[in-house]
Symmetry: C2
Subunit: 344 residues, 2 copies
């Protein structure tokens, strides 16, 4: 009976996979429709907020805790001083070989004492391997000014490994080829640097080094997997038997040992799906918090107790400083929002 | 200079509010479009999963931690034994006076030893007061069988207060009228019952008593606020001066003292927006976890250490029991998903 039940279960699973794919197609269509509806508003908003100094610094200052926990006091200082423009774009939305789930974050900065770059753009591609699906990215170089690298060399080391990997031009779907990367000196250097870094206080700028929550997946590998999945689903739809996956040797390599910012995919997804469309709400929330100022500073301090020096310099007053820039405080005649007011 | 800056800020705020409203309208349109795209799939899925025993019990067993933390071992037992059908419906989506954000959760149960009800339906209305917007609901009565009430009388007491409030027929926008409710004996009884209950281990069925994360808001009050907001935005669009809110006396009453399940609005939003469209993914995840069984049981035990008796009876084996119902274990030939596989 156990065997029969397993067989029934297997057939059900395959049929469920067909239905699941239809749900996934609808999700993608919803992303496309949402983007089309939002597009004119994003343009209008960009024009309007160009007149508002510190708009994006203030939005990020109000980030939900899942993000705020990763913004160190020294990051906050950089944001307050020179974070100028911000844009999320779904750059593969009309690309039949791309995914509406892919997006880029484009941070614009004023001239500043920290790095040479005026634009830092980070692209995230939604890709699939046989046993995983999610966002992957290439490390972005930040041209830090002398002595100003907030990541202690992590972004440089990750960028160098990324360039070295490109030269290998290996097939990311092939385990043996993938292993070549782990032999690179750039790989070992990054492993060591991550081991010696204090992971609890890695700079938010570490997200520019993000590669994957699993491992790097090339466009070719992802396209191949998509094609196989599609063929498999077609077979199920026609009622044909599907082949079992070939029993690939299990890859026991932990590619996360070179991941500078393992939580980046979750953080940037919240930025793209929540903070980007709801930026005005987050901005306005800045002016609702005067009464909570003391509490907020306390929270900040607690969050950074692992990094007491940096905190002393930049920490506990940060929240107050940045709001002072825009005439901190609730404006008269505006009704106070409840602490439980929904963000959407 | 401070005064001028405040004036400029005020004007900007008003203009931003106009833009914010346009974003909100787009959000509602996206919900409508998403619902239209999903509708045929939900029908198809309902037909298909009618053949799968325990589908919804298993989906809820896989609930994300934000929800799972609120499902007690004894709730889990009820779900495993008799939770049969489930449906989310956006019942105001075509109602010009309603909101696409309103939804109902309809739980269907087989005959069971716990309560008489075969259907428990909970409606959530998206409503606004002057200073808050969110989901409100009316307490639903659960006809518990003798000695089987998992909520220790909370659902009964909340239901009785709800009925008593209806008889008052007071205007929820009027503070003096609202205060009448707090004088009801049903109000005081519920306050006392909540005070003496162990809030850390309130049954998941407590969500049926949820009223609001703030306070009850009637359809009339919400409609009035919507109308005022609209008129105000029209004035801003025409460049006219808007009036300051009349300085209402601040309402210091804490209506949350009669809220049985303050987190319910957040929980049910995750159920409606994530678990409902992604139910197949959650169901399939049941079969990916065999290797983690021990770990999971351990986690369960930790989570419920405040309720050691209930745990002993229902707790640590629950996760294993329910999956045994469907021939627990990974089916052959299915590739194992990574622990970081995305839920969407």
């Amino acid at each position: 009976m156990q065997t029969e039940s397993e067989e029934v279960l297997m057939a059900r699973f395959e049929e469920l996979s067909v239905l699941e794919k239809e749900f996934e197609d609808v999700e993608l269509e919803i992303i496309r429709k949402a983007e089309a509806l939002h597009a004119p508003l994003y343009t209008k908003r960009a024009e309007f907020i160009a007149k508002i100094p510190h708009f994006w610094s203030l939005v990020f200052e109000q980030a939900p805790p899942e993000i705020d926990n990763f913004i160190q006091p020294s990051d906050s200082k950089v944001f307050a001083e020179c974070f100028d423009t911000f844009e999320v774009s779904r750059f593969e939305i009309d690309d039949p070989n791309g995914s509406p789930r892919s997006f880029s974050l484009k941070f614009g900065f004023k001239e500043n004492e920290y790095f040479e770059d005026r634009i830092l753009e980070k692209k995230f591609w939604f890709r699939r391997s046989r046993d995983w699906a999610g966002l992957v990215s290439e490390p972005v170089q930040i041209h830090w000014k002398k002595g100003k690298d907030l990541t202690g060399g992590l972004t440089d080391a990750a960028y160098k490994l990324g360039e070295a990997r490109k030269k290998l031009a290996s097939d990311s779907s092939d385990m043996a080829a993938r292993r070549k990367e782990t032999k690179l000196t750039e790989y070992q250097k990054l492993v060591e640097l991550i081991e010696t870094s204090s992971q609890s206080s890695v700079s938010f700028f570490g997200i520019f080094s993000f590669v994957s929550g699993y491992r790097w997946i090339s466009a070719e590998e992802s396209a191949k997997v998509e094609k196989e999945d599609k063929a498999n689903l077609e077979k199920i739809r026609r009622g044909e038997k599907t082949e079992d996956d070939e029993d690939e040797e299990e890859d026991t390599q932990d590619y996360q040992e070179v991941e500078v910012f393992p939580e980046a995919d979750e953080i940037v997804t919240i930025i793209a799906e929540d903070m980007w469309p709801n930026a005005i709400k987050y901005y306005k929330a800045t002016f609702d918090e005067e009464e909570d100022d003391e509490d907020l500073s306390d929270l900040d301090v607690e969050g950074f107790d692992s990094d007491a020096d940096a905190m002393e310099e930049d920490g506990s007053d940060q929240e107050v400083d940045i709001r002072a820039l825009v005439g901190k405080g609730r404006k008269p005649g505006q009704s106070p929002p409840s602490k439980k007011q929904r963000k959407k």
